[in-house]
Every structure is written in structure tokens, then in C-alpha cells.
Amino acid sequence: MTAAGFASQLLQLAIALALAPLLVGWVNQCRAWLQNKGAPSLLLPYRTIRKLFAKDAVVAEGASPIFRTMPYIVFGAMCCAAAIVPSLATDLPFARAADAIALVGLFALARIFMALAAMDIGTAFGSLGARREMFVGFLAEPALLMVLFTASLISGSTSLTTIVDTLAHRELAIYPSLAFAGVAFTMVSLAENARIPVDNPATHLELTMIHEAMILEYSARHLALIEWAAALKLFNYSCIGLALFFPIGIAAADDGWQATLGAAPLLVFKLAIGGALLALIETLSAKMRIFRAPEFLGTAFLLAVLGLLVNQLLGS
């Protein structure tokens, strides 16, 4: 691991932490535009986080340490994920320590702790949210992994950096399997980021909540961290998508730091488009009943597997 690599690693992490709330803000703004509403400020998420950090924390009675540590763990997991996914450069020392499978593992870690913490208080909503979250997760997680596998079968590697290197910096080839993977990935990331049609981040009716129901008891700094982590999650997923399907412009190991810096604006641009697309999808589709979710995610899973099969069949 070179010093340059280390630098790009830190830079990328910093950018992820910084840009994540902005991405959320951007998506909300686009959605507001699409739905002819007055758009909130682009910086609203930052304000929310600052405000929450200033507040007094309210902790529910009978909360165990799991409840209090959860936000930190989730946040930490998301940071690690952000450090793995190559958004600017592929020269990431930490990515050698944890590959795509480990990335999914990190997401699982976050999910499990969220669910446990939600059950910790012992309210109906907490456990309901936890159940639904795990329910969504048990289909979304394998689907995501399958998507990643498709890519790694193409590139013959499970480490994201290598995948990106292969996809971005070798001769351009058309991978039909990636088409399946792309669709599947979109569906998964909608579900995983608590977006319509699976969940509704803006709802205020507990019965329809998934993600919100789990964090119902949180406040102040804990909530702030969770919101931030959620933003990071969205950011990570977007970056994964970009890395797999639009890897152009991500600096390779030997490009040096200029390329890395040069990749930054490109990333912002790609994210802006991605966010807009997300908002569009959310606007166009309606939230589905919770038990339609398995069909939705099952389809995603099957598409991903299909991608894998196609890849095997056509010998990539």
C-alpha cells in the first residue's frame, strides 16, 4: 500500500462523508420538482444533522447497551463500506482487506444491529420494523451479492477495485449479463435504501413504515448518526452502481493523484444524474403492499441469477 493509495483512500472517505447528505438533499429536491412541490433547501440534510447533534438525547426506558451502541456501529459499517467502494480511484488499500462479499457482510452487520436495536425497546412498532427490515433484507442481500458475482465473474475477481479496473480500463466489450444485473441492482437499491415502492421515507404513518419504524425511538445524536449512515448507504449504493455500470473515469492504480482529483467532479456529475433518476423512479411508482415486496425482490434476485447464468452460458 503506497502513500498515494493511502491518500486516495482517505480522500474518498472524506468525499463520501461530505457528499452523502448532499445526495439525499438532491434526490429530495428533484422529487419535489417532479411532483410540483416547493423544493426544500439542498442543504436541508446537513441542517437536520447539525440540529440533531445539538438536541438532548431521549432514551427509552429499558433500553440496553445494544440500543445505544447501534448508531455508532451502523455508522462505522457504512464508513468502512464507503472506503471499499471505488468511487474516485481503484487504488484503495482497504479494498484489499475486504472484497465485495465482505462489503455485503458489512451491510448485513448494519442491518442486523439495526433490527436488534429496534427489538430492544420492546414496542410493537420496533419489532414490526425489525421484522420487515430483515424480511426485505433476506431477499435484497443475496440479490445484491448475485449482481456483484456477475461482475466478478466477468472480471474474474471479487475485489471491487479489480472489477472496476477490468470494466473501466480494458477494451470495451458488451456484457449482456450486466443488463440483467443492472435492472436487478436498481430494484435492490430501491429496497435497501427504504425508497418507494418498497418503503416510503417520507411517511408518517407507523403502520406503513419499515426503516422509520425501526428508528422511531431514536433522537438527537443517535438519530443524527443514523440519518448520516442512511445517507452514506445511499451514497455507497450509488457508487456501487456507478462502479459496476458506468466505471468510466475512475482513476486506476497507476494514474497518480491528478487522475484521482480529476475523477471527483465526474463523480459528482454521475451522482447528480443517478439521484435524478432515483427521484424519477420514486415519482413514477406507487408504494406497494409489504407482501408484494417479496415478489419485487424475488424478481430482482432471479434476474441477478439469470444474469449469472447468461454470463456462464455466453462464456462472458
Binding site: A60, G76, R96, L106, T123, P142, F149, L153, S159, E217
Partner: protein
């Protein structure tokens, strides 16, 4: 002279038997049993683990005891494979014996002394299975193991369902043993020599070796709980006292895996690719089935039992993959997969024992096995709860714990399956990978359910307020196993290096140097294909979390208020409003409807005391076992007519026999 490892292992077995015999001296003296015998047993187990660890990778040693049949005395042999499983056995049983010394109280069941006797005979039999080197001693040890565990399962024999469980277990075990005996009969290939040594040298014609393999798969599958021979497992494991469940799940199932490996790779020379395909499919079906059923359980020990079925399924699937690779001569991949399989066996031994022991403590503290009546125990029994959390995360396959490593390796093996001759197989591999991943994800679901319902939330029953945390011995035992899970997760490179001699032995090529080149990174093929470094991940995660905490606490003023939870404007909030176990499993039940055979009782709006109940049954029981039983009964009834009481009929029998024979003579 210094004794050889084999002699020491034999000595350990003898020591266990002796300890067991001591139990007969004062069967009702609880202090004697729990303060002397079980700790002694634990010490022996520790010694055994140490010896075996030393023996891994050393040259095989064999010796012949003047026991057994005159023409077939006991042949014993220790090689890397058996040594590895001896380590597994020794390590887990060390902790479990410690736990037992705190666990067993004088109950109205079998007397503690007898329990100690059966327990140590069980251990000794398992160890003997591992060092057996001829069919006779193997069968003797195998059945002694089944017998001892049967008696342990039926310790609380006053409860009818426990008796039923024991009977089912013993009968299926016996059927399995018959299959194994037949397998040996085929393996010996007409040489008439039943030592494993000669079986190794015999070359069987293709069809016969297939028959031998599938007989072995059936026989050992019956013990391991492979579909459709799994029915005893979810009955017997909950029925047994928790340490015994832990031992059965953690160690005994691995004996079956050992037997399968021994037959498939050591005794049979030359595997056929389609065995691998069948084992792979069978294993994955078993795994999926097991975990889906685990999700639907409302008894914590049954849940764990089904999850054991799932893990065994994964292991068997791995074995199938090894066979596939080996038959195609892909030695390196076979090595990686085999490593994954053994690694997973080791992991499962640790975390499953940990969890079963934890349920044991919960059971003791609350007298309650049904998830619907537990909850909030993390406040009452913090030790058990936190140590169980480690096990939960480990079994859920969360980095950087041990469950993740083996699954990671297995997935690598799937992913880097090179294009094999059969297209069909090539198609199979991704689907298999998908099934594996799905299983892993479901495991997370099930484990969240298990942990959340038992330890988190608010107590669902009032009497839970009096639950006490586990005692000294139990804590130590649980602690040992938890530490084991963490270490196995954090130091994969060393573990793989430790396992490698078995690759050399069974596959004929070493995988470790490639996989565990640098001490830090685990890179099966080479670094830029895939690499994983558990230590770094561990350090980074912990580091980041701590960093965040410190920063936040620096910046933050740190005022905290305790308030009642948000009730959504709904005044009355009782613990019973939390998700029950059934409720938590309900989505899975709905998605995997066809897996189950359900009887649901839904309340009508007019019920004065509305009650909801659902009973989830196993299709296989009705598909396979019931018809078999019915058929046997029908035939028996027909045969019963022979003996119909009238003497002239009997005379006619003998008269006709006589005439027939005389006719036959001429």
C-alpha cells in the same frame, strides 16, 4: 520413551471411560459428579485437543489392540483427518464439560452419576470413531455413540414426547448404521478383509464404488440429518439436556461428516463427478429446508436444531463440490473447498455449542423453552446475553467473525469454478451459489429472531423478573467458546495453515501456501482476484466505531433523558404487543408456504377469548415415513394370519412342509 500421540489418545479414551465408571460408584451424589467428574472430563478433553493438534500434519500412526474379534482385532490409526476432528471434539467438549459441571442438577430423571457415565462414554465413543481403522471397531464405536447419546437424550424420560424423540432417534440411527455396515461390505470388495488399510488398496469397479458411496451417504446422512433422514434431529436435540444438545450438534454431527470424508476420499479411490452433483444438490436442499423451518420455529432449541440441519447441508454441499473438483482434477479448487468445508465444520462446532449452552442457561434460569414466553433477558442475564450475541453474529456470517470466513471461502470456490466439461454442471454452479447466499441471508433473519425474542425487548412473562445469570462454570464455558469464535474469525490464515495437511492427505495437493501466503491476507487464488484480511477488517471497524464515539462525545454536551417509549398515541402498551416468535417468522412462512404443512387456528371476531395458534409440520414425515410405517404394519398384519391358533392348521403346515421337501428331494 515418550508415548506417541496415538497412545495418548487411547489413554484419553480410557480416562474418559474410567471417569464414566466412577460415576456408577455414587450415582446420586451430585457434588461428587459436578465438582469432580465433569471437570476431570474437561481436563481430559483439553489434553486430547492438545495431543490431536500436535498430531495434525504428522505422519499417520497405527496400532492394533488385542480386542475385538479373533480374526479382526481393533485396528486404530490416527492421521491428519482424524486428528483434526479430534481437535474439534476435544475443544468443544472441554467447554461443554465445564458447562455441564455447573449445569446438571439433581432432577427426577436419570441419576447424575449415570448421566456422567453416559456422557463420558459418549465422548469416548466419538473419539474411538475417529481413530477406528477397521469396520468392526468403527461400527462398535459408532453404535456405542448412538446408544450413549440415546440414553442422554432420554434423561428426562418421564415426558412422553422425549421418549418418542429418543425412539425415533435410535431407530433412524440404527437404520443408518445398517447402511454403513453395508457400505463397508461393498468397500471390502470381496477381499474379506475389513481393515481400512485393505479397503484403501482395493480398486472397486465403477458401479460398486458408486453403490458404496451412496450407502455411506445414506448411513452418515442419517446421523448428520440430511434430507430426508433429518426427522429425528429437531426432535432429539431439544429433548436432550442442553450440554448434550450442544455435544450432539457441535460434535456428533461432525462425526458423520468425518465418516463421509473418510469413505469418500480415503477409502474410495477415485470419485465420479455426478456423486458431487448429487451431494451438492442434496446439501443445498437440506440447507434451505433447514433454515426455512428454523424461521418458523417457536421453541428455541428446535430453532437451533433446524439451523444445525442447515449448516450440515452447507457442509455436505461443500463436500459435493470437492468431489466435483477432484473428479475433474482441479486440485487447487478442491483444496480450497475442502478447507472451507472443514473450516465450516469447526466454526459450527463452536458457535452452535455456544448457542445451545446459552439456551441451556436460559432454560435453567426461566424453566422456559418456548420463545413466546421469553424476552428482555439481556437485563437479567447480561453474561449469557452478550456471549450469546457473539455466537449469534458468528452464525449469521457477519464479518469479522468466524462464520463469515468459511462462507467466504465457499463462495470463492463457487465463483472461481472454471468452465467444467459438463455445461449442465456449469449451469448448476451459479444456482448453487445463489441458494447458498439465500441460505446465509435467511440465517441472519433467523438469528435476529432468536436473539431478539429471547434476550431483547421486554419480558413477556412476569416470572422472568426472577431469572438469574449463569454460574461461574457456565460463564467460563460460554466465554471459551465465544473467544474461540472470535479467534477463528480473526486468524483465518493460521487456521487454514493448520487445516492444510488434510488437503495434502485427501486431495493430494496443498492449498495453503497459495491461500495463506502472507500472514495478514487471505487470498485463495491470488491477491487481485480476491483477498480478505480479517484482522484489518476487525481493527478498522472497531477503530472507526470507537473514533466516532469519541468524536461525538467530545463535541456533544451529553445530556440524556430517560422517557417511556413512543406509544403512537395509543395509551396501553403491554409486552405482549411485541412480535411473538410466530409473528416474526410469519413472513417467511408466507413466502415459503409450500415447504410447510400448516394447521392454522384463526380467531373469529366473536371469540370471547380469541386465540391464534399455528402448527407447522414436516411434509417429509407424511411423504416418506408414514407410508413406510403403514406398509410395514399391513405386511405384518398379513403375516400375523400364519399364527391363527388352530392346531390342525399348524399340523398342516408341518405336513405340507414335509411333503414339499420330500417332493423336492426326488
Amino acid at each position: 520413551m515418550i508415548p506417541t500421540p496415538l497412545q495418548l489418545v487411547i489413554a484419553a479414551i480410557a480416562a474418559w471411560l474410567a471417569i464414566g465408571a466412577l460415576g456408577l460408584l455414587r450415582p446420586r451424589d451430585l457434588r461428587f459428579v459436578s465438582r469432580l467428574l465433569f471437570p476431570a472430563g474437561a481436563a481430559v478433553a483439553l489434553g486430547l485437543a492438545a495431543i490431536a493438534a500436535y498430531a495434525v500434519g504428522r505422519l499417520p500412526q497405527s496400532s492394533v489392540l488385542p480386542l475385538g474379534l479373533p480374526d479382526l482385532p481393533f485396528h486404530l490409526r490416527i492421521d491428519s483427518l482424524s486428528a483434526f476432528f479430534l481437535v474439534l471434539l476435544g475443544a468443544t467438549s472441554t467447554a461443554i464439560s465445564l458447562f455441564s459441571s455447573g449445569y446438571f442438577r439433581s432432577s427426577e430423571g436419570t441419576a447424575p452419576g449415570l448421566v456422567a457415565m453416559q456422557y463420558h462414554v459418549f465422548l469416548a465413543a466419538m473419539a474411538l470413531v475417529l481413530i477406528a481403522d477397521d469396520a468392526y471397531v468403527f461400527m462398535v464405536a459408532w453404535e456405542a455413540m448412538a446408544l450413549a447419546s440415546y440414553f442422554l437424550v432420554t434423561t428426562e424420560h418421564r415426558l412422553p414426547e422425549i421418549r418418542r424423540a429418543g425412539l425415533l432417534y435410535l431407530v433412524i440411527a440404527h437404520v443408518g448404521a445398517i447402511a454403513i455396515l453395508l457400505a463397508f461390505g461393498v468397500l471390502q470388495g470381496g477381499s474379506g478383509d475389513y481393515t481400512f488399510g485393505s479397503m484403501r488398496s482395493v480398486i472397486l469397479p465403477g458401479a460398486w464404488s458408486s453403490i458404496a458411496f451412496f450407502l455411506a451417504l445414506t448411513g452418515f446422512g442419517a446421523k448428520a440429518g440430511i434430507l430426508p433422514l433429518h426427522v429425528w434431529l429437531p426432535e432429539a436435540h431439544p429433548a436432550a439436556p442442553s450440554p448434550v444438545s450442544a455435544l450432539m450438534s457441535g460434535a456428533m454431527l461432525k462425526m458423520a461428516i468425518y465418516g463421509l470424508l473418510r469413505v469418500a476420499f480415503d477409502l474410495l479411490n477415485g470419485q465420479l463427478w455426478w456423486w458431487g452433483v448429487i451431494a451438492l444438490t442434496l446439501g443445498l436442499v437440506t440447507a434451505l429446508f433447514g433454515i426455512v423451518f428454523a424461521a418458523a420455529q417457536s421453541d428455541m432449541k428446535r430453532l437451533l436444531a433446524y439451523s444445525s440441519i442447515e449448516n450440515i447441508g452447507i457442509i455436505v454441499a461443500g463436500i459435493g463440490l470437492v468431489i466435483l473438483f477432484k473428479s475433474y482434477g482441479k486440485a487447487l479448487l478442491a483444496g480450497i473447498t475442502l478447507t472451507a468445508v472443514l473450516y465450516h465444520a469447526l466454526n459450527h462446532a463452536f458457535y452452535k455449542s455456544l448457542l445451545f449452552l446459552a439456551t441451556g442457561s436460559v432454560l435453567h434460569a426461566t424453566k422456559e423453552r418456548s420463545l413466546g414466553k421469553l424476552g428482555g433477558l439481556i437485563h437479567r442475564m447480561p453474561w449469557v446475553a452478550w456471549l450469546a450475541l457473539v455466537g449469534t453474529l458468528a452464525i449469521a456470517g457477519i464479518p469479522p467473525l468466524n462464520g463469515f470466513v468459511s462462507e467466504w471461502l465457499l463462495l470463492q470456490a463457487f465463483l472461481f469454478t472454471p468452465s467444467l466439461p459438463q455445461t449442465f454442471v456449469n449451469m448448476l454452479v451459479p444456482i448453487a451459489a445463489a441458494a447458498l447466499v439465500l441460505t446465509a441471508a435467511l440465517t441472519a433473519y433467523v438469528m435476529v429472531k432468536f436473539y431478539g425474542v429471547v434476550f431483547l425487548g421486554r419480558p413477556r412473562e412476569s416470572n422472568l423478573a426472577y431469572a438469574k445469570d449463569a454460574g461461574r462454570y457456565e460463564r467460563v464455558a460460554l466465554g471459551l467458546l465465544a473467544v474461540g469464535c472470535v479467534l477463528l474469525g480473526a486468524l483465518p490464515v493460521n487456521v487454514i495453515a493448520f487445516i492444510d495437511p488434510i488437503n495434502v492427505m485427501l486431495i493430494g495437493s496443498s492449498a495453503a501456501p497459495r491461500m495463506a501466503g502472507s500472514w495478514l491476507f487471505l487470498a485463495p487464488i491470488d491477491a487481485d482476484r480476491s483477498s480478505y484480511s480479517a484482522p484489518i477488517v476487525l481493527v478498522v471497524i472497531v477503530g472507526v466505531v470507537l473514533l466516532t464515539m469519541t468524536i461525538v462525545h467530545r463535541l456533544y454536551h451529553g445530556r440524556v433523558r430517560i422517557a417511556p417509549p413512543w406509544d403512537c398515541g395509543f395509551p396501553l402498551q403491554t409486552p405482549r404487543m411485541q412480535d411473538t416468535a410466530e409473528g416474526f417468522g410469519q413472513p417467511i412462512r408466507q413466502v415459503f408456504e409450500p415447504f410447510f404443512r400448516m394447521q392454522r387456528e384463526l380467531p373469529t371476531p366473536f371469540d370471547s377469548a380469541p386465540r391464534y395458534s399455528v402448527r407447522v409440520d414436516d411434509h417429509w414425515w407424511y411423504w416418506i415415513y408414514v407410508p413406510i410405517i403403514r406398509g410395514a404394519e399391513r405386511i405384518a398384519r398379513a403375516a400375523g394370519r400364519i399364527q391363527q391358533g388352530r392346531i390342525s392348521v399348524y399340523l398342516t403346515y408341518s405336513f405340507c412342509t414335509l411333503l414339499a421337501l420330500l417332493f423336492f428331494v426326488r
